[in-house]
Symmetry: D2
Subunit: 437 residues, 4 copies
């Protein structure tokens, strides 16, 4: 046995084992301290894909892993940029990592479904900013630079592009991650290759410098856009996901109705943080109110699920039915339509559903018409894979140093087609009802 | 455009996309109906590794995916056995799939940590049996054969071995799955190879027939044992996992103290299903009581987490501190000891912790001694990778048709070593306290 | 120890371990016997990507693995079709497997580069047919049905579609496989998903029945087309691959010149089977000559590489230089051009290269002009990802049973763009020469 | 369009796409220049697993990829060591990379089978050293430090341990790589984890400093040993691999017999570089002879395979039969024996094989006895997973700084068992002969 003569040096990095990216090294001090905050730990209780886990059994991953992953990719891309001659100071490095880690911190539970329901006009990026500011105060201004990058107010704007654009670390991580956990291998993006072909042009990285893709990365980027499109239509906007979204919104609307009418309906047995949002009609201007902030940061998936579980025993049979359906994954059917339904169609369908509600004892005849609002829904899925005109458009540099927006390069036959905005109307209704055309 | 002349045949299988095994085909009728029961859907809200997700960020997967996975492997192994000449009737096929799907249905939230805390003498297999019986009643006896296989009362005992032995579909799936989600690649087991080398001996599969491994599979099985050992020490019994377990148990003990003393402590704001178990001192004989069964099947991770979140604002500073620590992953430190601590040591350490509790204002001097019970813990991790003597031991057939228990084959140098039971005592205490040796 | 009472049944399947698809089960008798023929074993000595391994170090895989893989996918798709109600007889099953296994048996070494060089007007499919016929004779007509499927002369034409169309088992396997071995993850195709969505319409599978894709598979197919496009431009037509192709063709042309002129040049020390093709000017009508067939089936990568190695010491400095460059991977540079070069440009460049040949002592002044043929090349890469008009076009069935060609479905925004034929002219020249624009 | 104001900086790294490790970055200048040498390019024509590709269809990978991979892991481990406080100079970094890249440069074709056949007393490490010296001369002494590290003559011996020990970059890469290409997933080693737990003790890295593993890496190392053991018995010493080895050696012996006897036998049509070794009886003292070195570095798999293909048409029916068997993978059978055969057994078996040779017309009666030497073989497979006493043993450091040899740590129950040397005798004979016990 050999006695150690000097103490083992504490590694300046803490290692997380991530199934997607392998080992992720987290710098100690600021970044690790941020991870330890309640705001970031809360992301461990918010599933990344909302109701998606009810369709893809493996998609139970949370926003916490995504936050770590986006930060890990930020490390990778900064290493690539430095290698290609763009200097990055240690302060900028830390700020960029912090911004990547915290960029989604404002997401709430079942965010895609609920954010507009809980606070009207809400956008999670605004809440991320509110929470970033709060953390910045708590950390004595250590996040000033990260905040500037987040706001696109930093003097070297390419940092903002890495945090928020059409080809940022957020998108690269979430596509790769969601593809991994859903088992949808076609959504797998060549993250490594795309990052390897990124550079800053001009290389010094001043106020005019922007992220560009070397021409050899064009196909990988095109693949990324197609993969993103596939993930939207096959995962994020999957018919059963839309059905789950509908059910969740219907439950909320029903509970709100009870709360406003002062009828019981079981609403009072819900989680306090959730009730706060159901009782108060908040809008985007309230985001910065301390009580809103506090309620928001204490709200997560467990409050929503716990509450819905309680509502299964509500004395309102409609609420009980909706809640039971959600918990036991007994969703309505979603059918895509070639065009939005006509008024005559919706009228006819509403009648059919009302009849069924009465026939099955769910509603009394007097309420059946009104109750169809919870059992029948119309909406449309919308997605554009790429917006050439948007600020965060993707630019490509060829070997002569010429820079073009992606859809203007000769190699991307398919990109223009992808910029088309697609919209698919759909109707959501009980499986037992056979809608007449 | 071509009009279809006949309707598309509804596939007799429903497909689940699983990131671990790829596409899993679920036969419609009984098996799919079982998946739709509240008992099985509840597994979607119970994480497979309890507090493990707080150590391995990807390990957020639930027992639902594992149930599907074990069933999928059962399909695979039955196909292999049939190909090698062992007949399996359609009824046996369905029964074996059902038994694999339901084998873990009795697990509760944070099962590893809590099962003995909630119901003394509890074993999840007993509860699985209770729930299997309940489902069997509901399905009009359709699970009779599955139940017999589960109980090892079926006339062809090899089915029971596939459900419950030292090399069953349960273990093969959970090791593969937990390795996948934790990112601990060394735990990856060659499930496909092991299953391919399984056969029934004698092949007809009567009451004497048992599962044996062809000799060429010996190394793969040895690898499986080593991988299992590694997963125990690096994942299931990881120091930080043990620290999380300790904290969870300490919280429960504290709440129970309040409930029994009639002091408030915030216990009353908890989830009702959770409170049921905290208030009543139940033991294994109560499992079959309808109220216990009902409370149990409505209990999941959301109740536990929701309750702990509420207790963060308890007026008992100890409970509030413990709850806050759990929610924000501010665990105690676990240190392994070469041998169990002496009485003098534990006395000394208890004093240190008590002093710290007073100094930090957590306890009044009068209670500090008693409060150390929640801040200081002694226990030991235990694991044996393989038990040669156990009923479910692994047997190998060589090409002459001779069958030997695994550790008796010449090729498995390491197996005997693996049968050794290992035990590692440890102490758990606040990081701020520096224990004196 | 237990004595076996009955011998272990020999499994009717032989298992191959394939890194791409996992375990591949090969039925014994005909299929395994075919694998054991010299014609199929020869594929073990022919790399799938020709010179590709000199660009992607992992791409050393041969056509043998691809043949097995295409056969394995045929097993998968037939299982899916049968499950959806299309009957397949055991004879058809075997024939389809044989046809998938043998579909590429006519490929020769560095096939992409050399097939037209060795035999003018050659097409590997014609040679595959010749060899299939030869095997059929040897196996006493056992391949009659496979041959009919290969020829699209079988009464149920969907089998031919699975063997040869724009979405056949060949393409699905080679894209997945080449993506795997090159490490180009973006080329990874969701083979499993595509196969799961295939069905025969109408389901009975008579002479009108064709393979269709269920609408839910549309995105996966679109992804397949994009992945194929990416593999073409990033792998199969990679600039360095083109440079390797050029060099190989230049070597052949130089040796042929010597053989025809009767000058030595080292040509005579080459592999006999290779020399046979260099000496005789063969064309497609000769494929069925027994001597051609024999020489062809004895020719593989080792003959080509062995010969080039010998030519490194040729007394012709040009041949020696070209051979040395190939063996040591010292390729010329390939530069893509915006348009084909003008006559003036090619004249100027030819002069530059001739000057360099003289200056470096490679050519005497008198031959320099002629020698530029080996050091300077013009060509164009061509690829169309999908041809909507081609016989093997892809058809999609929606849930109402309507069938449409892929580019006519509403969901495939990008497909039309992909049907555009792309052509990229390029020039290939020594790196030491700086071509003037 | 934007004009570039400054030229794009040429990246100091060249990227290789490796299916095993992803992108491998190769520093330009020395390391890239070394890769471009004929000595390293030759590794592209030498399969890593010799005849292994005839058993595992995916195992067609060459020593070139392994050389790159070992170098890539060296980059990784040096980054880890530096992060933990062990300084590494740029010169040391380059030298260590060069040594890792070149460590196996002395391997020849079918090395495991042939090295002792071609040059008696040969060891590939000696030849690696010879070639390293030659390269060092050519590069003007640029490899002095790499050579010192290779020889364990460098002042900081931990570098040598990373190049050559029981846990070096060579082993880590080849196990990971061979597991990948064979599809034997159980052989997958947690390379990343092992490397992350390596450190130098004492950290400064002077002449006493050695590589140690942090205690938390113990299980990963144990897993590595078990995986290595499995790869030996299931891949490297697979029965069919042994049969291929036997056949290859029998062919060589037969050709040598002809060459020495001056009989034709077809030997003269072989590849010149291969004939050089068959004609001359060389031993280890000849390694440094220029003609031997030159012949050796021009020899690769293509020479061996080309020659065997020619010998298929030898007028010696035994040689023709053996050659045809090798090319068409028609191997003999290998059967493991419980103990080495007795003289009576070998005599009996020899008689059986001789009878079969005569009966099948392979041998005339007069030669049959002698010809059995080529058709019947006895040998034994040998492997020890770990040698605790060997110089390159593995040492573990616990958190108190105490260092112990691996098998002395309390956590590695199985390691002692693994140190046992295992030996399995076997016999190799034609499948048509049924050996009598």
């Amino acid at each position: 046995m050999i006695r150690r003569t000097s103490p083992i040096v504490l590694s300046p990095l803490k290692i997380f084992s991530d199934p997607v990216h392998g080992f992720i090294s987290v710098p100690r001090r600021l970044i690790l301290d941020l991870i330890q905050t309640p705001e970031v730990q809360r992301l461990r209780r918010i599933r990344q894909l909302g109701v998606g886990y009810l369709v893809f059994p493996g998609a139970e991953h949370t926003r916490f892993g995504h936050a770590l992953g986006a930060m890990a990719l930020m490390q990778d891309v900064l290493a690539v940029l430095q290698e290609k001659g763009t200097p990055v100071t240690p302060e900028e490095h830390t700020a960029a990592l912090a911004a990547a880690l915290l960029h989604d911190i404002g997401h709430g539970p079942f965010s895609h479904t609920l954010e507009h329901e809980l606070i009207s006009g809400f956008h999670h990026e605004k809440m991320s900013r509110v929470l970033l500011c709060r953390l910045n105060e708590r950390f004595g201004g250590a996040l000033d630079r990260a905040l500037a990058m987040f706001d696109d107010a930093y003097e070297r704007p390419f940092f903002h592009q890495l945090i928020s654009s059409q080809l940022d670390m957020d998108r690269l991580d979430y596509l790769r991650r969601d593809s991994f956990y859903t088992g949808v291998v076609e959504g797998r993006v060549g993250v490594e290759r795309i990052i390897k072909t990124m550079c800053v042009h001009p290389a010094e990285g001043g106020p005019e410098a922007r992220i560009v893709i070397e021409a050899k990365g064009t196909y990988a980027v095109e693949n990324f856009l197609i993969a993103r499109r596939l993930m939207y239509w096959q995962v994020y906007l999957h018919k059963t996901v839309l059905a789950g979204d509908h059910l969740l919104r219907a439950i909320l609307a029903r509970v709100r109705g009870h709360l406003e009418a002062g009828t019981g309906g079981g609403g009072t047995t819900a989680a306090p943080a959730f009730l706060f949002f159901l009782k108060n009609r908040l809008d985007a201007r309230d985001l910065d109110r301390p009580d809103v902030r506090d309620a928001y940061t204490s709200l997560d998936d467990t409050d929503v699920l716990f509450s819905i579980k309680q509502w299964q025993t509500s004395d309102d049979p409609v609420l009980a039915d909706l809640a039971r359906r959600f918990i036991n994954r007994d969703f309505f059917r979603v059918t895509f339509l070639e065009r939005p339904p006509t008024e005559a169609q919706t009228e006819r369908w509403r009648g059919q559903v009302a009849d069924w509600l009465v026939a099955t004892g769910r509603s009394e005849a007097a309420h059946a018409e009104a109750d169809t609002a919870f059992y029948l829904g119309f909406d449309a899925s919308r997605h554009a894979a790429y917006d050439e005109a948007e600020a965060g458009s993707i630019r490509v540099i060829d070997r002569h140093g010429d820079v073009r927006e992606l859809s203007r390069t000769t190699d991307t036959a398919a990109v223009t087609a992808l910029t088309r905005f697609e919209e698919k109307p759909y109707v959501c209704y009980p499986k037992a009802v056979e809608l007449r055309r």
